[in-house]
């Protein structure tokens, strides 16, 4: 297992004010960093809670987010013994783990249940989409005073790029504003593919040099660029310029590494495997994600579908779930076959659950009190169901777990102690996650 290196930024954080620090500090200026903040940051650096990295079990994360609030009753937490108005119209099926039952919508996933940790007791209090989404992406409740960074941006901040690839990639695009950098510098923003891998003729733009730009010309361009940049970088020290410098460095390493660029070439995948994932959004996005983490990307976020089923939840699930089921089951098996599942954590989550009782439009409304999430690999147990809901999926009955604990546990697998503080504007050192606990029961 490759050892994680501490990103250079952090070496300088403790030892006075370097230019890097200045960049990190200044980069939050867009959020209103004032002179006071600048001085305060200098003085507060010494007071930040700091932890070293611990030995990670997960080298990479694939975060599959199902926006809209997927019904747990119609997926990972069916209630076959509840009255029909709670149970819904869909039946349930056994999985390959004794005692764990899924909805009939997940036949293929049921066959990889022995590789999953199903969390059925997720809970938080936010019934609005954007607030629930914020919770799940950041591990924080939304605050009117500060924008928190997403897990992907935190990983990018803590570890930096690997094998010339961007540390945090979104497929196809950054799915919502909470998947961004929050109070951190824009250098830690996700790289968006900008196109859907399921689309015909998919390519990631601008990775390859123009046809008539050979090595000589490219080298000349880089030398010329360095010569022109020299003058300006000596005169001007500004955060945004520093962030642009970083992105140019990363862009060049990406362009010049064939392996790195090849990670984005989904056509290099075996056609049969592409079929097995499914030639649709769910399938090709998950396959792309696997390709990326295999090549070195640390954190991949992808979304699939829309799950806000206030009406006709049965039909909606029957429409959308099969593609997810096929792709997700194949992804888990694929990672396992390649020996990557032990070092890659797959997270399936959504912003909240849906009401216990089916409403008069045959749908279910928002229900943040309890919902399901699924983890696989990267150091979590295999084949368990963690937590449980009551008979009608009304409340978490056993082991309720909030976004703070889930995020803290995920960070722990990544080798990051989430109590560590990063510097936010308003001279506030802020914990990566505040008050979260590692749920040891989830860990293998």
């Amino acid at each position: 297992m490759a050892c994680y290196r501490v990103h250079p930024i952090h070496r300088t954080l403790t030892s006075g004010l370097s230019r890097r620090d200045f960049l990190t500090v200044g980069a939050v200026a867009g959020l209103g960093l004032s002179l006071s903040d600048f001085f305060a940051i200098r003085s507060a650096q010494a007071e930040q809670k700091h932890y070293d990295f611990v030995e990670p079990t997960a080298q990479s994360v694939i975060q599959i987010f199902l926006p809209g609030g997927m019904s747990a009753q119609e997926s990972f937490d069916p209630k076959p013994y509840a009255p029909i108005e709670y149970r819904g119209e869909l039946g349930s099926i056994n999985t390959n783990v004794d005692g764990i039952v899924f909805s009939e919508t997940l036949p293929q996933t049921a066959q990889v249940a022995d590789k999953l940790t199903v969390i059925r007791s997720m809970t938080h209090g936010e019934a609005a989409h954007e607030r629930g989404t914020h919770n799940m992406f950041t591990g924080y409740r939304p605050s009117p005073a500060i924008v928190f960074p997403s897990m992907g941006s935190i990983v990018s901040h803590e570890y930096g790029p690997r094998k010339n690839l961007p540390p945090y990639v979104c497929i196809p695009n950054q799915p919502n504003e909470y998947a961004g950098t929050g109070y951190l510098s824009s250098s830690f923003a996700p790289f968006s593919l900008g196109a859907d891998p399921a689309a015909g003729g998919f390519t990631v733009r601008d990775l390859a040099r123009g046809a008539d730009i050979d090595d000589t010309r490219f080298a000349r361009r880089r030398s010329a660029l360095e010569a022109v940049n020299d003058y300006f970088s000596q005169k001007v020290k500004a955060d945004a310029v520093g962030a642009m410098d970083t992105f140019y460095e990363r862009a060049f390493s990406l362009i010049e590494s064939k392996e790195a660029r090849e990670a984005f070439n989904i056509d290099a995948e075996d056609a049969k495997l592409r079929d097995e994932y499914g030639r649709n959004e769910a399938g090709q996005r998950m396959l792309m994600a696997r390709r990326l983490v295999e090549a070195g990307v640390r954190f991949v976020t992808l979304t699939y579908g829309g799950w806000d089923h206030h009406a006709n939840v049965t039909q909606a699930m029957r429409g959308q779930m099969p593609a997810f089921d096929q792709a997700f089951a194949r992804l888990v098996r694929d990672l396992d076959e390649r020996g990557l599942l032990d070092t890659t954590m797959v997270i399936v989550s959504t912003e909240f659950g849906r009401t216990p009782k089916v409403n008069n439009q045959a749908g279910r409304d928002h229900w943040p009190k309890v919902f399901s999430a699924v983890l696989a690999g990267g150091g979590v147990k295999r084949g368990i169901a963690y937590g449980a809901t009551d008979a009608t999926a009304n409340e978490p009955d056993i082991n309720p777990i909030g976004p703070e604990d889930l995020a803290t546990t995920i960070y722990r697998c990544l080798g990051i102690i989430a109590d560590k503080e990063l510097m936010a504007p308003g001279d506030r050192p802020i914990e990566i996650v505040k008050g979260g606990a590692v749920r040891q029961d989830l860990l293998a």
Binding site: G26, L35, S36, A40, A145, A189, F191, R221, A238, A251
Partner: protein
């Protein structure tokens, strides 16, 4: 979780605290006099509050005396100053507090270092005892102790079975929940101190929130006496808080450990005032520079700027505090200000002991001002002409030249179109009305119609979306509440969204304000015109807004203003007149701040559409003055732009010195800004002599001309063009990204345009030498000649060929990829 609060009234705490501070400041003065020969003299003395009204026997008022030095440093001299009541039989002064003795008028006089200050004292009803009041005494306890905060009982569902309205927006409901929701559970009128309300709050029984009120404290006493009186409610009859003030209103503290006490004074609708320092929540926004204790005492920490806020009832007020190290050597710059802007900026910088950067070079100025005013780069001819011009006022002339160009108004038409969300919307706004709206807006700005008139025309508009394009404003956002929120944010810079569900936490806005403001938009009628793409917007004359808590119909009320007579009128026109009027307290400052932010890179209030007490202006005097100037100029913002661009402040270098390296909000140096998407693309097309084709526009149109927010290109989207989905100023994104770098390096924009425009080929064919071509493209893109070092390095790469097309193209590519090109500096 909040801090438990115990009574520490002025009587108990002020004496020892002031004693301690007295010692400190003596030491400080001694130290500084020995270190520096010339200690600036005390130049003024102020006694706060300026008026003291005492209206019952238990009333009191704490006072603060502040001395100010010639260099702006202030010191709390309450303990050192000699204070006395002129007519000793009417009031008594002790422990920094005035208490009533007998009815009458007199004054409190303070003397310090040969200076004198006084405050009027009015005593009335000195013999009367006021019973404990639910509104005046009990509700403030819930707020001060944090009971009704969002994390405790103020949560939407309450906490542990008991709910209070968030920050007390619903006193009657709170009274009901305390006294009758669960009869006899929460209060015990027979034995008041056995009431669960009291026992929980004081920690006598298990309470999730812990002990919030100390038994025996003033807060405990209020609750206890109120219950003993039978827990009456005077909601609706008690005088309301009409104003809150924090004193001193600003401070400049020098030396770590120096202290300054802050007091809060409320003015009620019956004209009385009250010392609410121990009832308000007084807080700092910067713990490192100005930590504050429960009694309102700030102890200076590290160098910085902060804001001390007091919140009481629905009011929040703030005081700007600067903290400076004691051993700072500083000589104020003797630069002559170009206009009022420089004077106001220098006032602040001098207080901060910051030395501004010098003015930028002519080359830098030319590039910056051209990009800012017309969104393009100076041409080679313009560059040479400007550098050759020896006139001392050539910068001012250049500004006037640029302001006269049509591109100036085009940029502002685009910026307003962003805020007004001009775009097509499926099934609601078709291309034709959208295009008419965009054109109308562009023409208004091109014709120099005063901005308040434009806004008046938009808000008060009636008619078809074809014939009166301004009515599209109401078509783009059909929701009443959202419209009210957008109007507040776009035209007043205020975000009132929070007050839809509860009184605003960080601002003054209450639910009453929110629904009162929403009521202006309750009577908008819409019907489809003869052409299905046209909608007729009209005043339906019917429809009301109800307060969701009380169910009461809300009369239309201006934000922070009066309730106008709207009978028989189009409510929107009444509102439009108010917003467009020179007396409007928000409109002019908010627009001026947006204009300022465009040229300076950051607003005096930032974000520009989030103006509130707790997000203060970095330079309040400048903020107000720019607004006043806009009004003075009859809302012609072009004149304001002229003032801004002619100031030294705008023309400073981006290079920093030791004292201003950390400054990002006080305009001591120019800020480096990534060029906005549209202007960047237009500049690249200009330099490469290529034309763009955008949907609905002729070949060669510029990106800033795109009318429809839905029309974009990969380049524009990647570089953060506003989608116009919301009115938020944050829609325009100038943050760099990896996709941007990749696109500039490999993408079609630069690569394709260099090839297509044939600038290099044309220049070589015209007989220019490679060095001449290199010089020319550098001037074109960067508004400067290459340095010798650059020329040597680049010519070495270009080589000896007679017509090195590919080599020079590579140099062109490098310049267009350079940070210097991508940023305005």
């Amino acid at each position: 979780m909040h801090e438990p609060i115990r009574l520490k009234g002025p009587l108990q705490t002020s004496a020892p605290l002031h004693l301690a501070k007295g010692v400190l400041s003596v030491v400080l003065l001694f130290a500084s006099t020995s270190a520096r020969a010339e200690e600036p003299a005390w130049t003024s003395l102020v006694l706060y509050p300026p008026e003291i009204s005492l209206s019952n026997s238990a009333d009191y008022q704490g006072v603060v005396v502040v001395a100010t030095r010639a260099d702006g440093v202030t010191l709390d001299v309450t303990a050192e100053a000699e204070l006395s009541v002129a007519e000793g039989s009417l009031a008594i002064f002790e422990s920094a507090t005035v208490r009533p003795l007998a009815d009458g008028e007199t004054s409190l006089v303070a003397k310090y270092a040969g200076l004198e200050a006084s405050s009027k004292i009015v005593v009335a009803h000195a013999a009367d005892q006021r019973p404990v009041s639910y509104m005046l005494d009990v509700m403030p306890v819930f707020a001060r102790a944090g009971c009704n905060s969002g994390s405790c009982h103020g949560a939407a569902r309450g906490k542990d079975g008991f709910r209070l309205s968030l920050f007390g927006f619903d006193p009657s409901g709170d009274h009901y929940r305390i006294t009758r929701e669960q009869a006899t559970r929460r209060i015990n009128l027979a034995v008041p101190n056995d009431s669960l309300l009291v026992e929980k709050a004081s920690g006598a029984v298990q309470h999730t929130g812990g002990k919030c009120i100390e038994p025996g404290s003033k807060y405990y006493d209020f609750l206890s006496r109120w219950l003993a009186d039978g827990a009456p409610s005077d909601a609706g009859s008690a005088p309301a808080v009409s104003k809150l003030a924090i004193y001193p209103p600003a401070a400049v503290m020098q030396g770590e450990g120096t202290t300054q006490r802050f007091i809060a004074v409320a003015t009620y609708s019956d004209g009385t005032t009250r010392d609410v320092s121990d009832l308000a929540r007084i807080a700092t926004n910067n713990e490192n520079s100005t930590p504050i204790d429960e009694s309102g005492l700030v102890t200076a920490g590290v160098r910085g700027e902060s804001f001390i806020t007091a919140r009481f009832d629905v009011h929040t007020v703030g005081s700007q505090v600067l903290t400076l190290p004691s051993d700072l050597q500083f000589t104020a710059s003797d630069e002559v200000p170009a206009n009022y802007i420089d004077t106001l900026v220098a006032n602040k910088l001098n207080k901060l002991r910051i030395q501004p950067s010098p003015l930028c070079s002519d080359e830098e100025f030319l590039r910056r001002v051209t990009l800012d005013i017309v969104g393009l780069l100076p041409t080679v001819e313009e560059y040479h002409a400007f550098l050759a011009d020896e006139a001392p006022d050539k910068r001012a002339k250049k500004i006037d030249q640029l302001l006269a160009k049509k591109e100036f108004s085009e940029i502002w038409a685009m910026k307003w179109a962003e805020l007004l969300m001009v775009k097509t919307v499926a099934n609601r706004v078709e291309y034709k009305p959208m295009f008419l709206y965009a054109s109308w807006l562009a023409n208004q700005i091109a014709d120099n119609v005063p901005i308040n008139e434009i806004v008046r025309n938009i808000l008060g508009s009636t008619g078809g979306t074809f014939s009166v394009p301004a009515t599209n404003f109401y078509q783009l956002e059909p929701d009443t509440q959202k419209t009210a929120e957008n109007v507040a944010q776009t035209f007043l810079g205020l975000r009132i969204q929070c007050a839809q569900c509860h009184n605003h936490i960080f601002d003054r806005w209450t639910m009453d304000d929110y629904y009162g403001f929403t009521a202006f938009f309750a009577q908008i009628g819409r019907k489809t015109g003869e052409d299905y793409r046209e909608t007729i917007v009209f005043n339906s004359g019917g429809g009301e807004t109800k307060h969701p808590v009380t169910g009461q119909v809300m009369a239309p009320k201006f934000l922070g203003g009066e309730t106008p007579d709207v009978a028989g009128k189009d409510r929107r026109q009444v509102l439009a007149d108010w917003i467009a009027s020179p007396e409007n307290p928000y409109f002019a400052t908010s627009v001026a701040n947006r204009v300022w932010a465009h040229y300076m890179g950051v607003g005096i209030v930032e974000p520009v559409d989030d103006i509130r007490v707790t997000n203060p202006a970095s330079n309040p005097e400048l903020f107000d003055t720019l607004g006043a100037k806009l009004v003075e100029y009859n809302y012609d913002f072009k004149q304001l732009v002229r003032d801004i661009c002619n100031s030294n402040t705008y023309q400073r270098s981006t290079e920093v010195n030791e004292s201003n390296a950390g400054d990002l909000r006080n305009y001591s140096h120019a800020l480096v800004r990534r060029v906005q998407a549209e202007m960047l693309l237009d500049s690249i097309s200009q330099l490469t002599e290529t034309k763009d084709k955008f949907r609905g526009l002729p070949l060669g149109a510029r990106a800033i001309h795109i009318a429809d927010g839905k029309t974009s290109t990969y380049f524009l989207t990647t570089f953060g063009r506003a989608k116009r989905d919301t009115v938020c100023s944050c829609e325009v994104d100038t943050q760099p990204s990896l996709s941007q770098a990749l696109h500039l390096i490999n993408g079609e924009t630069i690569e394709g345009k260099i090839r297509q425009g044939k600038v290099i080929e044309t220049a070589l064919e015209a007989g220019k030498t490679p060095t001449e071509v290199l010089d020319e493209i550098t001037v074109r893109c960067l508004s400067r000649k290459p340095t010798d070092d650059e020329r040597n390095k680049l010519m070495a790469l270009i080589g000896e060929a007679e017509k090195p097309v590919a080599e020079l193209q590579d140099a062109f590519w490098a310049i267009l990829n350079s940070r210097e090109f991508l940023f305005n500096h």
